[in-house]
Every structure is written in C-alpha cells, then in structure tokens.
C-alpha cells in the first residue's frame, strides 16, 4: 500500500496502523505500549484510541453500550448522514448494535455451523490440490500469491453463488476497501459505489433465477416476518465477501510463513497430523490477522481517558493474544499449546460468524500443503511483505521447495 501519512513520532501518542513500522512488525510496538499505557491515543483519522491488553480488549468487545459497531474499519471516512444509521449500519450484522444485531445474526448463524461448513470441505480440499498441482516442477513459488490467496476467495465465491471467474475482481475490491484506508474520502466512496453495483447485478440475477446458495438464502430470509431490504442483502454480501477473504488468506499465509522459518515445527506437524487441531489454534493465536474497530457511542471516562462520541477505537485482538498476563510465553509458537483461549475471532456477541469456515480452510490448506511440500524454506526473508490496515498477513511470500 502507499503510505500517505507522515512517520509516527511516538506510538503512545501518535500511532498509525498504516505506518511501515507497524505493518512490518507490530508486536514489539504493542509490548512497549502494554508497559507504558496501556491505552494509546492518536490524533490521526480524526482521533483514535488503542487498548493493548487482553483485559481492556475484552472489556471493549463486551461493552456495546459505550462502543458502537456502526463502522469497524478505521479510515478518513466516518459514517455520514447518507449511511444507514445504527443499529443497522452499512454491513449488518457486523456494523449493527443490539438488539437488532442479534436478530440479524440469528438469521445467518445456521449457515455457518459445523455441518454446512463440512459440506464445503471437499471443494476446498480439491481446490488446494489443484493449486498445488499447478506448481508441479517448480522449486520456487510464492506461498501467498500462488496458493493462500486463491483459497478463501474461491470458497466464498462458491458459497455466495457467484461465477468462479469473478474471484480476481473480488481480490481487487478487497484490497481497496481494507488496505487503502488512507485513500482520500471521495476516492474511497467511488470504490464502494463500484462494489455496490457489482452486488446489485448479482442480486438481480439471483432474484430472476434463485438457486441453492448463500445469496438466494439471504434473498429468501425474513426478519420479523419481513424480507430483508436489497440494501441489507447487499451489505451482508459485501460483509461476507470482505470478512471471509483477506482474513483467511492472511491466516494461511502467516502459518506457512512460520513453518517456512521453523524446520522443527514443520517436521513435527508434517509427521504428526494429530497435532493439527492445536497447531491451527496456535497459529490463530500467534498470528491472528484481524484488528477490529469501534466508534465511541457517547462521551465517557475509560480508565482515566476522556473518550468522545465519534472517536475511533482500534480493537487489536492480535495484541490481546500476545498478552503475557494471559498466555505463557506469548511470543513463542507452541504447536501443542493445551490451554488456548485466544481471541483471534473476537469475543462476545460479534464473534466471527465465519470462524468454522476459516478454521476448516486453514486446516485443509495446511494439510494439503504439507502433504505435497513437507520441506520448504523462505527463499528471501527480505522479500516477504505484509498487508497494512486492520488485516495482517503476508502478501508476498517467496519460498524454496526442497
């Protein structure tokens, strides 16, 4: 991403989650702030707060009185009068507050329980095998762009019932929505308009020709005896697409990045498939991709800080997962970590709707990769790049197959 902001002067008073230092390695920044603050503030983006301990992150996640989910991506553009107001928000239910949030979430939950997700596993496994087969004979490949990147986008495209060949269009949209958060507000509005138009075309097609997919499910769903508005359906589809792609791509990529750098872990996991369950959870803990955000709902005192209505607050679940007060040796990846109450999928009522889907994709992606390439290493550690913004994962990950 292009950085349009000046360098950060002091992380406690001037932090910026798009700063190259944060993008490259945020963990030492959070460790330092945990000692010094533990709630940092920045005037950037019109005023943003950052709690970094597990306790404070949990407190905010559970507090829907003082914090609204009306917007969950910090950018220069706050929700305005043209946007759907709380408690619905732009992309329900992630941008919704209670009690509306619970009503809409309940409608979606059945589609994401272990049963329906298991039904997507054969497709996912075959997809991983096909992607790996396409790398046959190569000794060097990019684990992010040749492999991890393609898995969640194609699974969600299938889940929503869109043409598989549109997967590339989605990847572009997602990069613009999630990473180019320091884009000027009017450019950002254009990007979102284009995304709306794509979704509207899909909705029209599914109304004309309903089928067995998530889009038709949404069009047929009722809340309080009434069909959802087209705007609501569109917002939820955009949410599922955005929330389901970059996030899981990042988790798969970060896990492969770890394995490329740790031969002992790589050999252990390749040799003992029974370790996969705890290993997946440990990768999710240590490399949790998603930092959420809230808007302050009204002026109040938060542990001695005067929060003002409309301030942003970054909710760094990845920082909570590295809190030494909760996790023993938090910066060490232990594939068999037995006690692991990590918050990679958030905490409280906004727990990631797609967590079962993400876990399935991550497990299958690692199983298939290790089955084909049990021995690999970083081709050039300096060439690895990470995404900026609120979803963190490797975007280029050149590896050498041995």
């Amino acid at each position: 991403m292009t950085n349009r902001h000046p360098p950060v002067r002091d992380w406690a008073t001037d932090f910026d989650h798009t700063d190259p230092g944060w993008v490259a390695d945020p963990y030492p920044i959070w460790a330092d702030l945990r000692q010094r603050c533990p709630v940092a503030h920045s005037d950037r983006y019109g005023g943003t707060w950052l709690p970094v301990t597990h306790e404070l992150v949990s407190e905010v996640a559970y507090d829907t009185e003082h914090f609204t989910s009306r917007s969950i991506v910090v950018s220069e553009r706050r929700p305005g009068p043209d946007d759907l107001p709380a408690p619905i928000g732009l992309s329900p239910p992630i941008t919704s507050d209670p009690p509306y949030h619970g009503i809409v979430r309940k409608m979606l939950l059945p589609a994401f329980t272990p049963g329906p997700i298991a039904a997507l596993e054969p497709f996912t496994r075959q997809l991983c095998r096909d992607l790996l087969a396409a790398t046959e004979g190569r000794s060097a490949l990019d684990a992010a762009t040749d492999y991890a990147q393609h898995i969640p986008v194609r699974v969600i495209v299938r889940f929503l019932g869109f043409p598989q060949e549109d997967a590339d269009i989605f990847r572009r949209f997602i990069r613009q929505v999630l990473e180019d958060v320091d884009q000027p507000a009017d450019e950002r509005r254009e990007t979102l308009k284009e995304l709306d138009a794509y979704m509207d075309a899909q909705i029209a097609e599914h109304i004309a020709d309903p089928r067995d997919d998530l889009t038709s499910f949404l069009l047929g769903a009722e809340v309080g005896g009434e069909k959802l508005s087209i705007g609501h359906v569109r917002g939820t589809m955009i949410l599922l697409m955005i929330a389901g792609i970059d996030t899981t791509w990042s988790a798969i990529g970060a896990s492969l990045w770890h394995l490329a750098r740790h031969p002992a872990d790589r050999r252990r996991l390749a040799g003992d498939p029974a370790l996969m369950d705890t290993a997946v959870e440990e990768f999710l803990r240590a490399y949790a991709p998603v930092t959420m955000a809230r808007l302050v709902a009204r002026d109040f005192d938060f542990h001695g800080h005067q929060l003002r209505e409309g301030d942003w607050l970054l909710l760094p679940f990845p920082a909570a997962n590295r809190d030494p007060g909760v996790f023993e040796n938090p910066d060490v990846v232990q594939l068999d970590r037995a006690s692991n109450r990590h918050a990679a999928f958030g905490l409280g009522r906004h727990r990631c709707l797609g967590s079962n889907l993400a876990r399935m994709e991550l497990r299958v992606a690692l199983e298939e990769w290790l089955a084909r390439y049990p021995d690999f290493e970083l081709a050039d550690p300096a060439a690895v790049t990470w995404s900026g913004g609120q979803v963190r994962g490797p975007r280029t990950l050149p590896v050498r197959i041995r």
């Binding site: 329980t113 272990p114 727990r351 079962n356």
Partner: protein, 75 residues
C-alpha cells in the same frame, strides 16, 4: 450412563456466555452438543465419564468466553 462415584465431574456451558466459538465441540464432541445456531450445551446432565475428564478440561481451557465450568459431583 455415567455412574456418580468419588471423582465424578460435571461439565456445564453457561448459555449466556457461549458465543458459538465451537471449540468445546471440537475438542470433546462426546460431551457437548450444538443447537441450530451453533450454541453449545453439555450432553444430558453433563456427567463426565472418567476417561473423558481430560477432554472436559481441554474444553474449559480453550473456551475464549470462559463459558464452561467443570465441577466435582458429590456421590
């Protein structure tokens, strides 16, 4: 049926805290059931067979919401 003897444990999911992470169901599928929304509850009375006490502890230790309790039952 699990006999209630010395050392028997009961596992319980607090339905107000469970947010459907499904970790308990993943590590101890014999002890937990999910409803159609993915919310977890203990199977039956929640009595834990002796050979599954370790699994019950794993469920407790992996619940991000601290929704699961494991308590001794008096015979």
């Amino acid at each position: 049926m699990t006999p209630v003897t010395a050392g028997t444990f009961r596992v319980h999911v607090d339905p107000d805290r469970c947010q459907g992470h499904n970790r308990c169901y993943s590590v101890a599928p014999d002890l937990f059931d999910l409803d159609e929304l993915g919310t977890s509850a203990e199977v039956g009375e929640g009595l834990v067979p002796a050979d599954l006490v370790g699994h019950a502890r794993l469920a407790v230790d992996n619940c991000p919401e601290h929704a699961i309790s494991l308590t001794p039952v008096q015979p």
